[in-house]
Subunit: 347 residues, 3 copies
C-alpha cells in the first residue's frame, strides 16, 4: 500500500535523496510523522522539527536538504509539491454517478449522467449540472442555475436562481450564493425594497468557505473571477467584482459595487466600503478598514495591536485629547517665537 | 410584452417626456441598457452615463431631465419609482398554493390554504402559517412559530420554537432566528448554561439577510420592530431591540440587551457592547466600536482608514509611545515656565 | 403545578425567607414577574427593580435579602442557582428515542436505541451516535463522525467526515464543523489546494452558536477542549486549539494554528492572527486585534470608542499627521537646548 518515493520523485519532478523503494501511506507533520508518513518543510521556522523528524520522507527545498535526517524529496516549491502528494495519498472519496432517490429534481433540469446528486438535494427547473459534478446532500439549486464540469458542492449549499458556477469550483457547507443584495430606497421614513434582478457568476477553480454569502447583483451581476479563494463567513455585497486569483481570509466584508483587483491578498476581518476600486496585486493586512480606493500595488495596514487594558485606556484617552496636545505645542511655539507649521493651519 | 411608458407614467405619477407607446421589458443600468430597457438616475455621480445612455427610458428627477437623451419619466423620488417599476417588470415568481408532498407537517400545524410550503420543509406542532405565506425548501419551523400573512422564507430558514414573524417579512437563506442566547453562569471555573426561555418577535415588513442570526431572549423576548432591514451575517444577541425602520449593513454584531432606536442607519461591521441604548435617528459609520450609549441623534464614526504598511507601522509606534510625547511636552513647558494644562493633570 | 419554594430551597441549598408552600411555575425578570414567577438578582445594578418586584420569589445573595419585598431564596451564587431552577421550570422538550422515517441512515452507522434522530437527517457510513443523543432535523453527519452521550444537535448542523463531538455538547443551527481549512500553496501566480486531512475534535460540555464555523485541521486536528462556549458567527481556523472553559463572544475570528489557553474570555469581534499562543486566564475586550502572542494572564483591550463624526475626523487627521507633531516637538527641544529623548532616535 502507499506509494514509493521513487514513484513520487518521478511523478513530481523531485530529486530523491534516499531509498526509492521506501513507501509512504499518509502525510503527517514533521513532529508527529512516523516511518510510514511523508512530511514537508516550507517554512524555515520549523527547521528544528526537521532535524528531529522520524518521517519516512520529507519534501523540502535544496537549502534544507542537508538538515534532513531521513529520505528527502528535493524540489523548488515544497509546499505545492506536498499539496500534490497529499492529494494522491488522501484522495477525496469518490461519489457514484447518479441521482439519490431522495433528491427532488425538476423535470426540465439536465443532469449529466456522470454527475452525482446527493441525498435530499433540491434541483429546480432549467438547472444544468455538468459532467462529473458532485452535489452533496441538502444542496438547494434554484431554477436556471448552471454548474460547469467537476463543480463540487460539499453539502447544504444554496444557489439562488440563475447563478453560474465555473468548472472545478468547490463550495463548502452553508454558503449562500445569490441571496438578494441589500438594496432599499428611502421613502417617507421607510425603506422600499429594490428588486435585485442581477445574478452571481463564479469562475473556474474558485473555492468558497463555509457560511460565506455572496449577494446577487442589483441590476448587473456580482462576479467572482477564476481562481479566487474565499475563506469562511465572508460577505460579498451586490455588484462586487473580485479579480482572478485573489485570496480573502475569513470574516471579510465587501460593500456593494466595490471592485477588488487580481492577485490581491486580503487578511481576516478587513472591511471595504462600497463603490471602491482596489487595483491588482494589493495586500491588505487583517483587521483593516478600507474606505478609499487603492490605486498602487503594495502592502496596506490599518489595525492597532491589543495592549494591556490599563495601558490601552491611557492611550485612547491621549488620542481623544490630541487637540489639547496640539494647543499646548502651539502655545510653546508662540512663546518660542517659532511660526507654526504650515500644514497645521487648519487645526 | 412589457409595459408602455404611458402606463408607467400614469401608474407611478411621473411626468413623461417621450412617446407614451414606447414599451420597456426589463431594467438595466444606464451603461448597459438598450432600447427595450428602463434605467434610472438617482445618484448625480452617474450623470455622465445618463448623457450616453441608450435606454428606452430613464426614471429621474426634474433637475436631470434636460440631460436625458431618451424618453424620461420625471418624478420626485426616482430611486423609489425605479424600485416599483422594477418590481412590476421583474415580479417574484409566484409559488402555487399548497404543501409539497415531501414537506413534513405536524398534525396540529395550521397552514392557510393560500400558503405555499416548499419541498422538504419541516413544520412543527402548533405552527400557524398565514395567508399567501411562502415557505421555501428546507425551512425548519419549530413548534409554536407563527408566520403572518405574506411572509416569504426564501429557503433554508431556521425558526426556533415560538418565534413570531410579522406580515410581509422576507428572510433570506441561512438565517437562524431563535437560537439560544449566549447565557452562562460562572461557577467554580466552569460555565453553567442559563436556559433561554424568551423568544424572538419580528415585526411587519422586516427583511433579514443570508446567514444572519438572531438569538432568542434569556427571559423576555428579542424584538425587531417593523420595517427593519438587516443585511447578511449580522449577529443580534438576546434581548436586543431594534427600532422601526432602522437599517443595518452586513457583519454588524449587537451584544445582549442593547436597544437601537428607530430610523437608525448602521454601517458594516459595527460592533455594539451589551446593555447600551442608542437613541432614534443615529447614523454610525462602518467599522466602529460602540461601547457607550448614544443619547443624541447624529452621525458617529470610529474607524481609521488603512495606510501603506510602513507608514501605518510608524503611526502605530508613535501612538503607542504617546506617553513619551506628553512627557517631552511637559518638560518643555516646565523649562518655558508655563503651567501644564489643567486637564492633563491625570497623566 | 409548579414547584414549592420549600422544595427549591432544599434541592438547591438555599436559605428560604418566606412561605415554603408558595409555588412558582416559571421564571421572569424582576420587572415583569407576577406572583407565580420566580426571578433573581445577580447584578446589583438592578437593585431598584428588586425593591418594586411582584415576583413570587427572588433568588439572591445575602447582601440583598433585606431589600426583597417578597419571598427570597438566599444563596451564594444566585445566577447559577437561578439557572438550575430555570432548567427545572422550563425543561428542554424531550424527543422520543428512535429514527424518524424520513431520515437517511447509512447501513454501517450505529445509532444507540435511546438516541433520537429527527426528520430528514442524513447519517453517513460508520457514524456512531451515542446514548440519549438528540439529532435535530436536517443534520448532515458525514462518514466516520462520532457523537458521545447526550450530544444535542438542535437542527441543521453540519459535521464533516470523522469529526468527534464530546458528551453533552450542544450545537445550534447552522454550525459547520469540519469544513476544509483555508490552505493553498502559491504556484506561478495561482493557488493550489492543500488537502485538509485532519479533522475536528470537540470536548464534552462544549456549546457552539448558530452559523459558527470550525475548520478541520490541515494535517493534525483542530481541537476545542471541554467546557468551551462559542457564540454565533465565530470562525475557527484549521489547527486552532481552544483551552478548556474558555468563552468566546460572537463574531470572533481565529486564524490557523493559533492556541488560546484555558479559562480565557474573548469579547465580540476580536480577531486573532495565525500561529499565536494566548496563555491561560486571558481576558480580551471586544473589537480588539491580537497580532502577537500573549504570555501573561490579564485584561487586554484594543478598540477605540466611536465619536461624533466631525470630532472623529479631526482625531484621525491628527493621528495621521503625528509625524509633524514630533517634528515640531523636536524643533522646540533643539531651540530649548534639550537633548531629544533616547527612545525617539528611531523616528
Amino acid at each position: 500500500m502507499g506509494i514509493s518515493l521513487g514513484e513520487l520523485a518521478v511523478r513530481f519532478g523531485c530529486e530523491l535523496r534516499g531509498d526509492p523503494d521506501t513507501r509512504v501511506v499518509r502525510v503527517a507533520t514533521l513532529a508527529s510523522a512516523d516511518a510510514s508518513a511523508l512530511s514537508f518543510l516550507a517554512n524555515p521556522h520549523y527547521r528544528q522539527q526537521l532535524v528531529q523528524t522520524r518521517a519516512g520522507a520529507v519534501v523540502l527545498g535544496a537549502a534544507h536538504a542537508h538538515d534532513c535526517p531521513t529520505a528527502a524529496l528535493v524540489c523548488e516549491n515544497p509546499y505545492a509539491t506536498y499539496a500534490r502528494i497529499a492529494s494522491l495519498l488522501h484522495p477525496t472519496p469518490v461519489a457514484a454517478p447518479g441521482v439519490h432517490p431522495s433528491a427532488i429534481v425538476a423535470g426540465s433540469a439536465r443532469i449529466d449522467p456522470t454527475a452525482h446528486v446527493g441525498a435530499l438535494a433540491v434541483i429546480g427547473e432549467r438547472v444544468v449540472v455538468g459532467p462529473r459534478v458532485r452535489v452533496g446532500p441538502y444542496c438547494l439549486i434554484e431554477e436556471g442555475v448552471t454548474l460547469a464540469a467537476e463543480v463540487h458542492l460539499v453539502g447544504r449549499v444554496t444557489l439562488c436562481r440563475d447563478v453560474e458556477i465555473g468548472a472545478r469550483a468547490l463550495l463548502q457547507p452553508g454558503t449562500v450564493i445569490g441571496g438578494d443584495g441589500f438594496g432599499f430606497a428611502p421613502e417617507r421614513g421607510q425603506w422600499l425594497k429594490v428588486p435585485q434582478v442581477g445574478t452571481v457568476r463564479i469562475g473556474a477553480d474558485v473555492e468558497i468557505g463555509a457560511n460565506t454569502t455572496i449577494d446577487r447583483g442589483a441590476i448587473d451581476d456580482t462576479i467572482i473571477e477564476e481562481g479566487v479563494k474565499l475563506d469562511n463567513l465572508i460577505q460579498v455585497g451586490h455588484n462586487v467584482r473580485i479579480g482572478a486569483h485573489s485570496a480573502l481570509a475569513a470574516c471579510v466584508g465587501i460593500s456593494g459595487s466595490t471592485t477588488i483587483g487580481k492577485r490581491c491578498m486580503i487578511g481576516g476581518a478587513v472591511g471595504f466600503a462600497g463603490h471602491l476600486t482596489i487595483c491588482d496585486d494589493v495586500v491588505i493586512m487583517g483587521y483593516s478598514m478600507v474606505s478609499r480606493s487603492i490605486t498602487k500595488p503594495g502592502v496596506y495596514s490599518g489595525g492597532i495591536p491589543v495592549e494591556e487594558a490599563n495601558t490601552w485606556r491611557r492611550l485612547v484617552a491621549r488620542f481623544k485629547r490630541s487637540d489639547s496636545l496640539v494647543t499646548r505645542l502651539k502655545r510653546l511655539e508662540r512663546a518660542a517665537g517659532a511660526a507654526p507649521a504650515q500644514e497645521e493651519d487648519d487645526d
